[in-house]
Amino acid sequence: MTYSFELPLLVLLILTAGGAIIVKDLISAVLLLGSYSFFLALIWAWLGAADVAFVEAVVGAGLATVFFLLTLFRTAPADTRIRRPRPPVVAVFALPLLGLLLLYAANDLPGFGDPASPASIHVSPHYLENSLADTKTPNVVNSVLMDYRALDTLIETVVVFTSGVACWLLLRRDPE
């Protein structure tokens, strides 16, 4: 596998993520986060996860940005610049160490698309082989989400509904 596409995308991902942390202006940070989501969506699409890429592009780059901006316009005073304290010395040493540890642990992960990895020998073959016959749905992602694992999706829908109602209850202050 060549890395000619992944590497520039990963570099852009890290640049936008770091930029979102470093930049002083909150609106710039929000827009950088949006572009970060977009690069992440490109990486998902490149890895073959079209559904995840779709959701990341629509939710991360679109909806979340709008939510962040609306929150900023509602909460922030005219000056949205922020001051950050200097990071503690422990973090400067401990976080790179943690990163090295994670990289070391990543050696033991199964290779990308490995057919013998635990994730692809448990229930995935059953879904892949029987989805079309069981549900007439060629898109296995949807048949898993909506049929084989429908209860999970139902609870997720409840979570989304609850978030909408909670925002309504917390934020609406009708002057009456």
Binding site: F54, V59, L63, F73, R74, S143
Partner: protein, 150 residues
């Protein structure tokens, strides 16, 4: 935030082109989700995104605002549709959300599952769209200065 329409002609023209386009694409994603990438969640977010775009561009009295406000009346309908499909399976004598037992006349096992997936996807799309639009209204209400016309 949501007040008068924007002054810029370019933004308004682009908005009036984009909003219906995004809505049609959302419907395509919803009903094509069983054959390609996409599905209920993305479709719901896209419908709400188009309405939010219309809200931000055309202001609180535009067509999108009216659509969004009437969409808010459907709060919970999507969730109810999802649960209703599950309950239909119970009535048919099967397990909850096991669509093959849903008493849909004229359809066999796999087709019933297909219909069940489609119906629940519509439910998820409705639920997500209403939730997103509701959150945007909640976030932007106070800056309207109490002159809500809802």
């Amino acid at each position: 935030m949501i007040g008068a329409p924007l002054d810029s002609l370019i933004v308004r023209r682009t908005g009036s082109l984009l909003v219906p386009l995004v809505q049609i694409f959302a419907l395509y994603v919803l009903f094509f989700g069983q054959y390609g990438p996409g599905g209920g969640f993305v479709a719901g977010v896209m419908i709400s995104a188009s309405l939010i775009l219309g809200l931000l561009v055309f202001g609180g009295n535009g067509l999108s605002a009216k659509r969004a406000k009437s969409l808010l009346l459907g709060d919970g309908v999507g969730l109810l549709l999802f649960v209703a499909v599950g309950g239909l399976c119970l009535i048919g004598g099967g397990q909850f959300l096991n669509y093959s037992e849903a008493p849909i006349p004229g359809l066999q096992d796999a087709s019933r599952r297909y219909a069940g997936i489609l119906l629940t996807q519509i439910g998820v799309a409705l639920d997500v769209a209403v939730a997103a639009v509701s959150i945007v209204f909640s976030l932007s209400r106070s800056t309207e200065g109490g002159t809500s016309d809802a």
